[in-house]
């Protein structure tokens, strides 16, 4: 119960602060928010795009959450998703002649495996040498992004194409858009099966963390490594495992991006999904259900920013950044607000 109250308060408080900014600039805050939220929840375009934008954030939010449950900070989801996206595109191009029943699962598995390997490396380094995962994941982000760019630029670009992107993947590796099945949802909206995969991933992560012995061991390691060791759990193995799972989840962004959306690898495609994933995990309390809601909120903000830019007098879509920033600030400052707010809530209840 309390766990839900604070993220909620953080969001409300952020909107209040954002409203002050809007007011100071000279627009009507209520009108601006109506535009922002209304456009993001408008059927079908608003909702379609919001869910599409939420998909990668669910994956990266889950990725960061799983690592965090093991006591690790995975700042490397960004690199993991780049490696995964390129790898899945590569398989989609090179093995394009395979039938869809084989190629599509293979491409998905490739994305997960590539992300998992890229995540497991800093995990191994930590388990073996004790080097800090934050430093290593950050450095591996640069390596991942540069490598993907290099291969795109020099080996897999269609000759003459002015855009930094690979040739398209085989049509056998395309994931269907949800518009094909959902009445009233036009097929031009890129929302695809990956969104369902994201929801399924949330369910699986939940079962894994709280219903399997492996998840128990992972959480025990995060909660108290000394006690985990005492309980016969190999802390080193848990570190590698958690980073691999985290990387694999981040890698699933590649499924949405390459198989579901652009059908090719497009250089620099990520809008900082890996980093926003940290905020999503923070706001979602490292819980799969919380991650879904947090990802939806961030998706609403980024979808709604566009009409705000276009239809208000002064406010630009930077308001979205202000809102995101203040939400994170308020969530992070929870420890500071916790005592007074809890006191206030108990006094309300006793009245």
């Amino acid at each position: 119960m309390m766990a839900l109250v604070f993220p909620f308060i953080a969001v409300i408080a952020a909107f209040l602060v954002g409203g002050l900014f809007v007011f100071a600039i000279g627009d009507n805050p209520l009108e601006t928010y109506r535009l922002l939220i209304g456009s993001a929840l408008w059927w079908p375009d608003g909702i379609g795009y919001t869910l599409f934008l939420a998909t990668p954030l669910i994956f990266t939010g889950l990725a960061v959450s799983v690592a965090f449950r093991a006591g690790l900070l995975n700042i490397g989801a960004e690199g993991q998703l780049y490696v995964a996206a390129f790898a899945t595109a590569w398989v989609g191009i090179v093995l394009g002649s395979l039938p869809a029943v084989v190629l599509l699962p293979l491409c998905c598995a490739t994305a997960i495996a590539a992300g998992a390997i890229w995540g497991a490396i800093p995990g191994l380094l930590k388990a073996r040498f004790g080097s800090h995962e934050v430093i290593n994941t950050i450095m591996m982000n640069f390596i991942a992004i540069a490598l993907a760019s290099y291969f795109t630029q020099y080996h897999y670009r269609t000759p003459g194409d002015p855009i930094m992107q690979t040739a398209p993947i085989s049509a056998h590796a395309n994931l269907a858009r949800l518009g094909q099945f959902v009445p009233g949802l036009p097929e031009r909206i890129p929302l695809n099966i990956s969104f369902l995969l994201a929801l399924a991933a949330c369910g699986l992560v939940y079962v894994f963390l709280w219903r399997t012995k492996w998840g128990y061991e992972l959480r025990a390691t995060g909660s108290n490594p000394s006690a985990a060791e005492y309980g016969g759990i190999s802390v080193r193995r848990q570190i590698v495992l958690a980073m691999a799972i985290s990387g694999g989840l981040a890698g699933m962004v590649g499924i949405n991006e390459v198989l579901g959306y652009r059908h090719r690898y497009y250089d620099g495609f990520s809008d900082g999904y890996g980093f926003t994933g940290i905020a999503v995990a923070l706001l979602g309390r490292n819980h799969p259900v919380g991650v879904i809601f947090a990802a939806l909120l961030f998706a609403v903000l980024s979808r709604g920013g566009v009409p705000v830019d276009a239809f208000t007098q002064h406010v630009t879509k930077d308001i979205v950044q202000i809102l995101q920033g203040t939400i994170i600030l308020f969530v992070a400052a929870e420890a500071f607000f916790r005592r007074p707010i809890e006191r206030w809530l108990t006094s309300l209840r006793s009245r």
Partner: protein, 498 residues
């Protein structure tokens, strides 16, 4: 000196202090005793201004005073030393002591005069603390003296000490009591919060006993006894000595040969050889830090195998090459000395703590899935059989008192039906009532045929529980004594080598 009159304090629905009256005479050492949660710390925190009372008044030297925050208390000459020290490790003694009232101008800190004053105080009370030493280089006992200096430096006339001996070795406790007596001689008044009755009788002049937030007894120390204090604290008669039938040792369960841990200067265990038979409790007595922890952890499989040498076997099966899980699986259970660091997942519920170490095997798990119903049953079983309170499996382990946390751990480890139980400091920070219970359970386990290896810093505890007693000093077995006939002073001699 200090008088609390009709102090009441509620936390939510819990009444921590219920109209309590405490009077501390000037120039005395006054003990406030009670079990964990009896409200003794709360009362003293009110006197120090950490909490404000809901009702009642505080009198200092006969005058009613309002103490809203610690600064008020300090101004009135009250100092407090907390159970967990409030020192900055990376700063010097002098820097820590002046913290909050830094001498010199705002831009230039002048520590010289302060250091001189600290040195003078340290000499006056024979604390032997160097003002320029770094806190992280000091022993726990020395750090505590720094805390005392902090209060003395602010000219405290009344010192409140919250469980001051919990962190000290028996030798350090003696030195510490000397310091307290010297402070009393110099006219200081001291309030000591504790639940160790031996110490109360050794040091205090008067005692206030608390139970369930109320004052249940006020006695002069010379007119009372440990048994009476225990009865007042717990509310019923308490057995202070362990009653146990003679052991019937069976076959050799654990055999340890030339076991050593560490290398070079870090060699903490230097080759020990002994056996523990089924159905006996073998105690290891020793001053803390003489290799006991390494011994227990090496047998449990928690020490990096690279630094372990020698032989260990359980009932003939060598333990070398087995990891902690494999050792648990062949019947070694372990009650660790530090339950917060090793024994519990403090944020997790009682249920998830109850399965730690058995979580990987049936019946708790089948395949990879955990068996919720079995976990529920297993937890309820431990809670009822070991009287864990409050009996709510969803509660995080952090919410339990020390004694109940310990009972949970003991229940969990006993539940494995071990062939060998490793126990370290089983009753540290545990209430008297729970101590009695834990001792009885250990004897029951022994009588059921389990081999028990017990390490404790409480000499009385190892002497009364053990069937055989080994003394460890500097990583070696310094001798073996018969706990039934040996005098504590002889064991003490072996422990210190003096």
């Amino acid at each position: 000196m200090l008088q609390l009159r009709g102090i009441t304090k509620r936390f939510g629905g819990v009444v921590a202090n219920d109209r309590i009256d405490i009077t501390v005479e000037p120039g005395t050492i006054h003990a406030i005793v009670g079990e964990n949660g009896a409200g003794k710390s709360t009362a003293m925190r009110i006197a120090y201004g950490f909490y404000t009372a809901d009702s009642g008044e505080i009198l200092i030297n006969g005058q009613s005073r309002r103490i809203q925050r610690p600064l008020d208390a300090i101004a009135l000459g009250i100092g407090m030393v907390h159970q967990h020290f409030m020192l900055v490790d990376t700063m010097t003694v002098a820097e820590n002591i002046v913290l909050g009232s830094e001498p010199g101008s705002p831009v230039a800190l002048d520590l010289e005069e302060s250091a001189a004053r600290i040195r003078a105080l340290s000499e006056k009370f024979k604390l032997s603390v160097d003002p320029h030493a770094l806190i992280e280089h000091l022993s726990v006992g020395q750090q505590q003296r720094v805390e005392l200096l902090k209060a003395l430096y602010r000219d405290a006339q009344l010192l409140i000490l919250d469980e001051p001996t919990a962190v000290l070795t028996p030798q350090e406790v003696e030195e510490f009591f000397e310091i307290l007596r010297r402070m009393r001689q110099e006219g200081k008044t001291i309030v000591i919060i504790t639940h160790k009755l031996g110490e109360v009788l050794a040091i205090s002049d008067a005692v206030t006993v608390m139970r369930d937030g109320k004052v249940v007894g006020r006695v002069k120390t010379k007119d009372t006894s440990a048994a009476e204090l225990a009865r007042l604290m717990v509310g019923r008669e308490v057995l202070l000595r362990v009653e146990k039938p003679a052991a019937k040792p069976g076959e050799v369960m654990l055999s340890v040969r030339n076991l050593a841990v560490g290398s070079g200067a870090n060699r903490s265990l230097k080759g020990v050889t002994f056996e523990v038979r089924a159905g006996e409790i073998v105690g290891i007595a020793g001053v803390e830090g003489n290799g006991q922890r390494e011994l227990i952890e090496a047998i449990a499989g928690l020490v990096d195998p690279m630094v372990v040498s020698g032989e260990m076997a359980l009932s003939g099966t060598s333990l070398i090459g087995l990891d902690a899980r494999a050792r648990r699986d062949i019947g070694i259970a372990h009650i660790p000395e530090d339950r917060h660091r090793r024994g519990l997942l403090l944020e997790f519920g009682l249920d998830e703590n109850a399965i730690l170490g058995v979580h990987h095997r049936p019946p708790v798990t089948s395949g990879v899935m955990m068996n919720e119903r079995e976990i529920e049953r297993h937890t309820a079983d431990i809670i009822t059989r070991f009287d864990v309170r409050p009996p709510n499996p969803a509660l995080p382990a952090r919410a339990l008192s020390g004694g109940n946390q310990q009972k949970l751990i003991i229940g969990r480890e006993f539940g494995q039906k071990p062939r060998l139980l490793l126990v370290a400091q089983p009753t540290r920070g545990v209430d008297i009532g729970a101590i009695e219970f834990i001792h009885r359970k250990l004897v029951e386990l022994r009588d059921a045929g389990c081999a028990v290896l017990l390490v404790s810093a409480e000499l009385e505890e190892v002497m009364s529980l053990s069937d055989r007693l080994l003394v460890i000093r500097d990583g070696r077995i310094a001798g073996q004594v018969d706990p039934a006939s040996a005098k504590p002073s002889d064991v003490g001699m072996l422990m210190t080598g003096g």
